[in-house]
């Protein structure tokens, strides 16, 4: 059997014709090309849309997560945190974030960023949404694109004033920042119209400075005469109107607050950032309206030797009762050197020149010149009690009469020193104690005893027989005086005198005729003197009469009942007068005086002076007759004339003395009257003002 191989078909050449590459290209290639181009386009788009990278540095990055924490502007997400890392030296945390390209140009140097966290404060709860969603970064910037920035420093706290917010920012100064906190309200008539920013220390560290933002349109209420005051907490004051408790809003109670008001018109418009002072309360703010707080003040020192307890920084300085400044510093300084060194307490006074009534333009130097002038005229500083209950002191500048000369000196160094005088510090306890002590010390018992004694004495005087007899004696005296005046002898005196003169005239005539003029010269002169004396005597007589008449009138006007009654009514204590032996003896003396006078008058009447005159005249008459009879005995005549004249003069002199006696009687009566009046006045004074017994005045 033959094994033939199976028939096989001829090999077929199936190699295809090589076609050019581009002809063989399949349409499927469009798919990867499309995929590639879509991918590239997407990548490019992505790259193009990628936000601007910015870096914000924070102190810590609590809650910030890369890829999750977003950046918001007015609650719209504008970016996302890409990375969080440390700066060189671990000083800060750098947060890298991408910000939308559309927003990035607005991020200029006024852009601020802060982390929004949940915050619970008196004014409300903010950022509550971040409890669940995590914190986010809030940014704020204005709407003007400026030079774009890429690196920022984040704030620790949310800013209060949003960029673009309309209003005015002012700077407030205060000495104590304890009552103000950031975000505290600014009130105007009780409405919140703004808020405070973060308080800061001033450059010199003496004051606390805080910015306050007043929203539009309330900021138009602020002028240069606006005053700000602290309304934080509450104030309790007590005075004549009782206790008053002043509480502002609860928020300001806890957080503090500032209120302002513009009371006087005419203030100038303010600019942004104007500086104002914060006054401790509304009253002082309103009080300050009349002074310019920015005016320069005069600082002078006062050195006190005694304790200044009760004097504090801020105590008032008064001039004539008006506050002109306050105490600025209190410290002790050493005055003198070596053994004479002394520690004095120096109070530096801050005086406002405008309060001294000087013009607003006046400088502290002008005020010092004025004060120096005052000091030279007796102005002195002293401490006086300002409030008797709290024991606070104020410094008072007073004008002291006849003060020791002093001037304003520069002794203590930088401040001019105003000399001091004794202080008037009344301590409540000491004052009350002193009053009680004085009341205690009053001799009330003795006083009562003295009054009783005095009444007894007056009663005794009034009841005395002698007193009762005084009116009768006076009446008798007057009667006798009247009788004397009316007596024939007295009436006859002028007639007799005329007769004597006629006689003398005749003598003279005859003497002239007898041609013995020279011999008679001395005699005539003596006779002329005698005549003059007699004339004087006659002149004195009417005077005596008028005096006696006045005495009578006085005695009538005396109204002894009134005297006794006044003396009885007035129970004053002139026991020295009434109780003394002299006073007791007064009625007796008076009677004695009256008796003497009566005796004198009787004497006059019964042949004393009148007879003497008559006798003298008779003698003269005889003498004249003798001259008439014989001119040869002229020397004897002259001798006798002389004698006559001497006698006449003695008589006349005796009358003169009597008239002095009557004047003395009158003076005595007047003294008694004065004494009675004085007692009466004293009694009235006590009745009107019993306090004077206590006050000792």
């Amino acid at each position: 059997m033959t094994d033939t191989p199976a028939p096989r078909p001829a090999p077929l050449d199936v190699r295809p014709v090589k076609q050019p590459m581009w002809k063989r290209l399949s349409l499927v290639w469009l798919v990867p090309i499309a995929a590639l181009s879509i991918s590239l386009w997407a990548a490019w788009q992505n790259y193009q849309d990628r936000g601007t990278l910015i870096t914000i540095s924070f102190e810590n990055a609590s809650g910030i997560t890369a890829g999750e924490t977003v950046i918001k502007y007015r609650d719209v997400t504008v970016g996302e945190v890409e990375d969080v890392e440390f700066a060189d030296g671990l000083t800060d945390v750098l947060v890298h974030a991408r910000i939308d390209k559309t927003v990035a140009p607005y991020l200029d140097d006024d852009a601020v960023f802060w982390v929004v966290r949940p915050d619970v404060s008196v004014r409300g709860i903010t950022g509550l949404e971040t409890v669940l969603s995590g914190v986010y970064i809030e940014g704020n910037w204005d709407t003007d694109p400026d030079v774009a920035q890429y690196e920022f420093v984040g704030n620790e706290e949310a800013i209060l004033t949003r960029a673009g917010q309309r209003g005015t920012s002012v700077v407030l100064r205060t000495g104590d920042g304890g009552s103000i906190t950031a975000g505290a309200p600014v009130l105007h008539k009780g409405l919140q119209v703004g808020y405070l920013e973060q308080p800061e220390l001033s450059f010199d560290g003496n004051q606390v400075v805080v910015s306050a933002f007043i929203e539009s349109p309330y900021d138009r209420r602020i002028t240069s005469s606006t005053r700000f005051w602290d309304t934080s907490g509450f104030s309790v004051s007590f005075g004549a109107g009782g206790v008053s408790l002043d509480v502002s809003s609860i928020a300001s109670l806890i957080e503090g607050g500032i209120a302002f008001d513009t009371v006087v018109s005419g203030g100038q418009a303010i600019r942004d950032g104007q500086t104002f002072d914060i006054y401790p309360d509304e009253q002082s703010a309103r009080d300050s309206l009349f002074t310019d707080p920015n005016a320069a003040s005069l600082q002078v020192a006062v050195l006190f030797e005694q304790s200044v307890t009760g004097l504090t920084k801020g105590s008032e300085v008064r001039f004539q009762g008006i506050q002109i400044g306050e105490v600025d510093q209190l410290n002790a300084i050493v005055v003198g050197e070596g053994a004479s060194a002394q520690v004095r307490l120096q109070a530096v006074l801050d005086i406002q020149p405008s309060r001294l009534g000087m013009s607003p333009e006046s400088t502290p130097e002008d005020a010092l010149a004025l004060l120096s002038d005052f000091v030279a005229r007796g102005l002195r500083a002293r401490m006086v009690t300002g409030n008797i209950l709290s024991g606070t002191l104020v410094v008072e500048l007073v004008q002291i009469e006849d003060a020791l000369p002093a001037i304003v000196t520069q002794a203590s160094g930088q401040y001019p020193v105003i000399p001091t005088t004794d202080s008037q510090i009344s301590d409540v306890a000491a004052t009350a104690e002193g009053v009680l002590q004085r009341i205690n010390d009053l001799p009330v018992e003795e006083l009562m005893q003295g009054a009783i004694d005095m009444m007894d004495s007056i009663e005794r005087v009034a009841n005395d027989e002698s007193t009762r007899a005084a009116p009768a004696s006076l009446v008798a005296l007057l009667d006798e005086a009247r009788a004397l005046v009316a007596s024939d002898d007295v009436q006859a005196v002028p007639g007799d005198l005329r007769k004597v003169i006629n006689d003398i005239d005749a003598i003279v005539t005859s003497t002239a005729e007898a041609d013995i003029v020279a011999d008679l010269d001395a005699a005539i002169q003596t006779t002329a003197a005698a005549a003059a004396n007699i004339e004087l005597a006659t002149e004195n007589l009417p005077e005596l009469i008028t005096q006696i008449e006045a005495l009578t009138a006085k005695a009538n006007a005396l109204a002894i009942e009134d005297l006794v009654k006044t003396a009885t009514d007035t129970l004053a204590s002139i026991d020295r007068l009434v109780g003394s032996e002299d006073a007791a003896a007064l009625p007796a003396s008076l009677n004695g005086a009256l008796d003497e006078m009566r005796g004198f008058l009787e004497e006059v009447r019964e042949g004393g002076a009148i007879e003497n005159v008559n006798a003298a005249l008779a003698s003269a008459n005889e003498a004249a007759q003798a001259i008439e009879q014989s001119v040869s005995g002229l020397p004897a005549l002259s001798e006798r004339a002389n004698q006559l004249v001497a006698e006449t003069r003695a008589v006349v002199n005796s009358y003169s003395e009597r008239s002095r006696f009557s004047a003395e009687t009158l003076a005595t009566l007047r003294d008694i009257q004065t004494a009675a009046d004085a007692v009466s006045a004293l009694a009235r004074a006590i009745q009107r003002n019993p306090n004077s017994l206590l006050t000792g005045r």
Binding site: V31, P32, S39
Partner: protein
């Protein structure tokens, strides 16, 4: 029929002047254009096969890049919002201790797609170079690639199911990220690439070498 591996003893349909329908297996004469049974287009060899393989492969690779860069899942809960990529999700699963699930996700999302790229690329290159080595192994590799390709969609399915189920408004929401779409496209492209490969070309080398 003898062993397919015997040297020179293997006759292809083409050698015999025949052409087989690739859909129903009906053998026709060489010049037939359409299958008598299923009316499918008859083609002894797909001359543009390699072009399509490469095109779909490139498209799949391009799509695979964003699938890995962008997040696969967008998870928003009340307290946080998280985005996780494929690799990020695997790392997270490992950190949570779910090693098994991590391996499954890693294999399905990373190993298989990359393996497919490599396998298809290798097959295409080897055909182009007319390599005669490991023809049987390469054919098996092709079969495995074509079979396993659809399982790569497991990731996409997970994302789709989660997105559909977890929609609780603000409390918790899961949305597919852009990577899910990219990944799905990548899988589809690689499957098309694998299907475009005409495995008969593996065996044509002998003829062309003669």
């Amino acid at each position: 029929m003898g062993s397919a591996g015997t040297e020179g003893g293997l006759i292809t349909a083409r050698d015999a002047g025949l052409v087989a329908c690739q859909r129903c297996g009906q053998v026709h004469a060489q010049d037939a254009l359409y299958c008598k049974r299923c009316d499918g287009r008859l083609q002894s060899r797909d001359t543009e096969s390699l072009q399509r393989v490469w095109a779909w492969l490139f498209a799949g690779m391009i799509a695979y890049i964003p699938a890995n860069i962008y997040p696969m899942l967008l998870t928003s809960t009340l307290v946080e919002r998280s985005e996780s990529t494929i690799i990020g999700g695997v790392v997270e699963l490992v950190e949570y201790g779910s090693i098994g699930i991590a391996i499954i996700v890693f294999v399905a999302s990373v190993v298989i797609p990359i393996g497919k790229f490599l396998a298809i690329g290798y097959l295409a290159i080897s055909v182009q170079r007319g390599s005669q080595d490991n023809q049987h192994q390469r054919h098996k590799a092709y079969e495995v690639v074509e079979f396993i390709g659809r399982w790569s969609m497991i990731d996409v399915f997970v994302v789709a199911i989660l997105s559909a189920l977890v929609q609780l408004n603000t409390i918790a929401t899961i949305n597919p990220g852009i990577a899910a779409v990219s990944f799905a496209l990548s899988v589809i492209f690689t499957m098309l690439s694998a299907q475009s490969f005409d495995s008969r070309m593996i065996w044509d080398v002998n003829r062309t070498a003669e």
